[in-house]
C-alpha cells in the first residue's frame, strides 16, 4: 500500500516535472547546436548562453539608469538651491527624471497598454455577444460585419488609427500620450472578435430547460440575463476572453513596433535598428520575455475562469 502510494507520487513527479525538464533540455541543446551554425551579418545567431549574458546586460543597464536617476536628482537639488538664492521669487519645480526607458519599464508600459485595450474590448464585446446570442435577428444583421473585420491584421488598422487619434485626441492627458492611445485602440480592434463570437455561442447554447425556468419564474429581462444567461455563458465568455487576451498580447508587440509606443515592441524594433553585435541576443531576451508574459497572462485568465465558473469539475486547459 505504502509502496504504491510512493510509486504514485514518483510517477506524478516525473510526469509534472521530469517530462517538462526533458523537453526544455532538448530544446536548449537543439537551440545551442543550431544557433552556432547560423551566421548572420550581425555575427552568430545567439545561443542560450549569449542570451543569458544579454539578459544580465539589460539588468545592469537598469541598475546604471537608477544611478543616473539619483545623480539627476542630486544635480537638480543643487540647481534649485542656487536658483533660490539668485531668484527667490521663482517657484522651484521638482522634475522627474527624463532618462530613456529601461527594459523593466518597457515591460510595464506594454502591460498597461495591453490591459487598456483588452478592457475596452471586453466592455464592448461581452454585452454585444450577449445581444447577438439572444436574438437571431441581431446576429444575422451583425454577423457579416464581424466576419469582415475578424481577419484584419493590426498592421492594416494602424495607419488609420494613428491618423484618427492624432486628429481627434488633441488635448493630451498626462500619462496617456497619443502613441499609447493608438496602440491601445489597435489592440482593442483586434481582440474584440474572439470574445464577441464565444459569448454569442455561449448564450445561444444555454440549455432550453434553464430558459424555461426563467420563463416560469417570470424573470424580467435584466434578471434573466443576470441569473440565467450570464452564469450559463461564463465558461464560453472566458474562453473568448482568453483568446482575446492572447491575441491582444500578440497584436500589441506589432502595434508598438510601428506606433513608437515605448514598450517591448519598440524595444525589439530599436534593437533591430541598432544592428550591433549584441542586438540579436537582446532581441531574443525580449522574445523570451514576451513568451513568458503571454504564458502568465493566459494562466491568470485560466485562474479567473476557474474562480468564476459555476462548474468546478470541468476540465480546463
Amino acid at each position: 500500500m505504502k509502496q504504491t502510494s510512493f510509486m504514485l507520487v514518483a510517477d506524478r513527479a516525473i510526469r509534472n516535472l521530469g517530462l517538462p525538464l526533458i523537453g526544455i533540455t532538448v530544446f536548449l541543446s537543439v537551440w545551442q547546436f543550431t544557433s552556432g551554425r547560423i551566421d548572420t551579418s550581425l555575427g552568430k545567431f545567439p545561443g542560450p548562453a549569449m542570451v543569458w549574458e544579454q539578459a544580465g546586460g539589460l539588468l545592469q543597464e537598469f541598475r546604471d539608469e537608477k544611478i543616473r536617476e539619483v545623480d539627476f536628482h542630486a544635480r537638480q537639488e543643487k540647481r534649485n538651491a542656487k536658483l533660490k538664492i539668485q531668484r527667490p521669487d521663482t517657484a522651484i519645480q521638482m522634475r522627474s527624471y527624463s532618462g530613456a526607458p529601461t527594459f523593466p519599464q518597457q515591460i510595464a508600459t506594454s502591460l498597461k497598454t495591453v490591459f487598456t485595450g483588452f478592457t475596452l474590448a471586453a466592455v464592448i464585446a461581452i454585452p454585444l455577444g450577449i445581444v447577438i446570442g439572444l436574438s437571431s435577428a441581431v446576429y444575422k444583421a451583425i454577423n457579416p460585419i464581424i466576419q469582415l473585420f475578424k481577419p484584419v491584421s493590426p498592421l492594416a488598422w494602424l495607419p488609420l488609427v494613428t491618423i484618427v487619434v492624432s486628429s481627434v485626441y488633441i488635448n493630451v492627458i498626462d500619462g496617456m500620450p497619443k502613441s499609447y492611445v493608438t496602440s491601445a485602440f489597435v489592440v482593442m480592434l483586434c481582440c474584440l472578435w474572439p470574445t464577441v463570437i464565444n459569448t454569442a455561442v455561449g448564450v445561444t447554447s444555454v440549455s432550453s430547460d434553464w430558459v424555461n425556468v426563467s420563463k416560469v419564474l417570470r424573470l424580467n429581462f435584466f434578471r434573466h440575463i443576470r441569473y440565467i444567461i450570464f452564469p450559463a455563458a461564463v465558461p464560453m465568455i472566458f474562453t473568448g476572453l482568453r483568446l482575446s487576451l492572447s491575441t491582444a498580447w500578440m497584436v500589441l508587440i506589432a502595434a508598438e513596433m510601428l506606433s513608437q509606443n515605448p514598450g517591448l515592441g519598440k524595444f525589439v524594433w530599436d534593437e533591430f535598428q541598432n544592428g550591433n553585435s549584441n542586438s540579436l541576443g537582446r532581441i531574443m531576451v525580449a522574445v523570451l520575455t514576451i513568451g513568458l508574459i503571454g504564458y502568465a497572462l493566459d494562466r491568470g485568465m485560466l485562474f479567473l475562469q476557474q474562480h468564476f465558473s459555476w462548474d468546478k469539475q470541468a476540465l480546463l486547459r
Partner: protein, 459 residues
C-alpha cells in the same frame, strides 16, 4: 514723458540722469532676457539612429540642457516619415531633421504645418554605397590613382550595370531615406552628374513616385534598414548617413563610392526642426534649446576633434545610435573606409561647428531648394527672390543669433568662438562642386538650376 523732457526744462544734469536711466534700463532688460525662465521645460525631442544626432546626445549627457533648466527626453523614431508627422502633430517638441524638411513645409511640398529651423545640427556626412556585385561591374570603368580608385567616382561608371540590368529585365533600385530629404537629392545629383536620369516628381499631376522618365529607381528605406535591404537584394545601393555606409563595409556587403562633401562641400545635412508656433509660443524655451545645442556642437569640434572618441562611446549606447563603437568611430573620428582596406582621411566628413557654427545659412536653404525645383518638388518656375523669401521663412538664423548673444553675454562662450555676428548676412560665398564643377551662387539659384543637363529648369 514729453512734459518732463520738454526743451525748457532740459539741463545737462537732466540729460546725464536720463542717459544713466537708459543704461540702467538696458542692463535690466539684458539681465531679464538672459535669465527668463523657459515657458515649457519638459520637452521630448525625436531623432533617427544616425551619428549626426550626436549634438542632441551631447547636450543631454553633458548636462547642457539641464544648464538651461530644460528636462529633455530623447526618443528614437522608426523612420523620417514618423518623425516628421510626430513633430507636425505636436507629439514631439522638436527633432533631428533632414535639412530640406522645413523648406518642404515652406514651399508646400511637404504638409501644411510650418516647420522652422533655428540651428543646423550637422554638415556633410552622407555617402552613397553600392553592393559588392554592382561595384565589381563599376570598378573596371573607374579611373585609378595608383591602385586605388580616384575620387570623386562618377556615376557614369554605373552605365555597364544599367545595361546588364536592362538585358535581364531588371530595374536598378536604389534606396534613399525620404523624398524631401538630403539623401534623395544627393543621390539624384550624383546619378544625374554621371548622365543617369533618376526621374522626376510630378506632384501637380498627382505623381509622387519620383520616377517620371527614370533610368534608376529610387525608393524610401529607413536608414537602419539600408544594409538589410541591400543584403536581401531589394536594392543595389543607397544614399544614407553614418554609420550605415561603414556598417556595409564592416559586414563586407557593399562599397561606398562617394561622400557628400565631394558633391557639395560644407552643405547642411541635418537641422534641428520645430514647429513655427512652438517658437512663437515658447520663445525662451526655443532659445535655451539652441544655446544647449550650440554648446554641444562646439564641444564636438573642440580640441581638434579630441572629444570625438567620447562622443562615439556616448552614441554607441543602444538608446542612441546603438551600432558597434568601432563602426561609428570610423567616420566620426575623421576617416572613412571605401573598398575594404581603402581607408582615407576625411576630417570634414562630419562637421558640426568648425567654420559653420551650426548657423542655418540662407544659402544652404537655397541649395536644397534648387534641387527641389530640379526634381519637381517645386512644381513651377520661381524667381531668384522667391527662393530667398522661402529660405527666410524656414531657416531662422535670427533665433540662432539671440541664442549666440546670450551665450556670449553670460560668458559661457566668447565672441571669438563665433564669426562676426553683426556683419553676418547668412549667405555663403559661391562655390564649385568637386564632382561636376557646377558653381552655386545663392543669389542666383536659377542660373545654377539651368546649368544642369538633367532635370527641370529654373525659368
Amino acid at each position: 514723458m514729453s512734459a518732463v523732457f520738454s526743451k525748457r526744462q532740459s539741463s545737462p544734469t537732466l540729460a546725464i540722469l536720463a542717459a544713466a536711466l537708459c543704461v540702467c534700463a538696458l542692463l535690466v532688460s539684458i539681465q531679464a532676457t538672459a535669465s527668463d525662465m523657459p515657458e515649457k521645460w519638459e520637452l521630448k525631442f525625436g531623432f533617427i539612429k544616425l551619428t549626426d544626432m550626436v549634438p542632441l546626445a551631447v547636450a543631454y549627457e553633458k548636462g547642457f540642457f539641464e544648464d538651461e533648466d530644460l528636462t529633455v527626453t530623447l526618443e528614437a523614431q522608426a523612420n523620417w516619415k514618423v518623425l516628421f508627422d510626430r513633430v507636425s502633430s505636436g507629439e514631439l517638441d522638436g527633432a533631428h531633421m533632414l535639412a530640406p524638411m522645413p523648406l518642404g513645409t515652406a514651399t508646400g511640398a511637404l504638409g501644411s504645418t510650418p516647420i522652422i529651423t533655428p540651428f543646423t545640427m550637422s554638415y556633410n556626412g552622407a555617402a552613397i554605397t553600392v553592393s559588392n556585385e554592382v561595384w565589381a561591374q563599376m570598378r573596371p570603368g573607374v579611373a585609378l590613382d595608383g591602385d586605388k580608385p580616384k575620387h570623386p567616382v562618377s556615376a557614369a561608371t554605373l552605365k555597364p550595370v544599367l545595361e546588364s540590368y536592362a538585358k535581364s529585365g531588371k530595374n536598378l533600385n536604389l534606396g534613399m531615406t525620404f523624398p524631401v530629404g538630403t539623401h534623395n537629392y544627393m543621390l539624384r545629383y550624383w546619378l544625374a552628374a554621371g548622365g543617369i536620369n533618376p526621374g522626376l516628381y510630378a506632384p501637380e499631376k498627382g505623381d509622387s513616385s519620383g520616377t517620371v522618365g527614370a533610368q534608376a529607381f529610387l525608393s524610401v528605406v529607413p536608414p537602419p534598414q539600408m544594409v538589410p535591404t541591400m543584403e536581401a537584394g531589394t536594392t543595389a545601393g543607397y544614399c544614407v548617413g553614418e554609420p550605415w555606409n561603414q556598417q556595409a563595409v564592416a559586414k563586407g556587403l557593399g562599397v561606398p563610392v562617394i561622400t557628400s562633401e565631394q558633391i557639395w562641400a560644407g552643405g547642411s545635412d541635418k537641422v534641428f526642426g520645430i514647429r513655427e508656433d512652438f517658437y512663437t509660443k515658447y520663445p525662451n524655451t526655443t532659445i535655451r534649446t539652441v544655446k544647449a545645442l550650440i554648446r554641444a556642437s562646439q564641444w564636438l569640434d573642440a580640441n581638434n576633434n579630441g572629444n570625438r572618441p567620447e562622443a562615439v562611446k556616448m552614441i554607441s549606447r543602444p538608446i542612441y545610435v546603438g551600432a558597434d563603437e568601432k563602426v561609428i568611430a570610423n567616420s566620426m573620428t575623421g576617416t572613412f573606409e571605401f573598398e575594404k582596406g581603402d581607408r582615407r582621411a576625411i576630417p570634414e566628413f562630419n562637421t558640426f561647428f568648425k567654420e559653420v557654427y551650426g548657423i542655418p545659412y540662407y544659402s544652404d536653404a537655397i541649395w536644397w531648394m534648387t534641387q527641389m525645383r530640379r526634381w519637381g518638388h517645386i512644381a513651377a518656375p520661381q524667381s531668384d527672390n522667391w527662393y530667398m523669401g522661402m529660405a527666410k521663412k524656414a531657416y531662422r538664423p535670427d533665433v540662432y543669433l539671440l541664442a549666440a548673444k546670450e551665450l556670449i553675454a553670460e560668458g559661457t562662450m566668447q565672441a571669438s568662438d563665433f564669426p562676426d555676428l553683426a556683419q553676418e548676412d547668412f549667405v555663403q560665398a559661391p562655390q564649385a562642386s568637386r564632382l561636376d564643377g557646377a558653381v552655386f551662387d545663392a543669389l542666383k539659384p536659377n542660373q545654377f538650376i539651368d546649368g544642369f543637363a538633367i532635370g527641370l529648369k529654373g525659368e
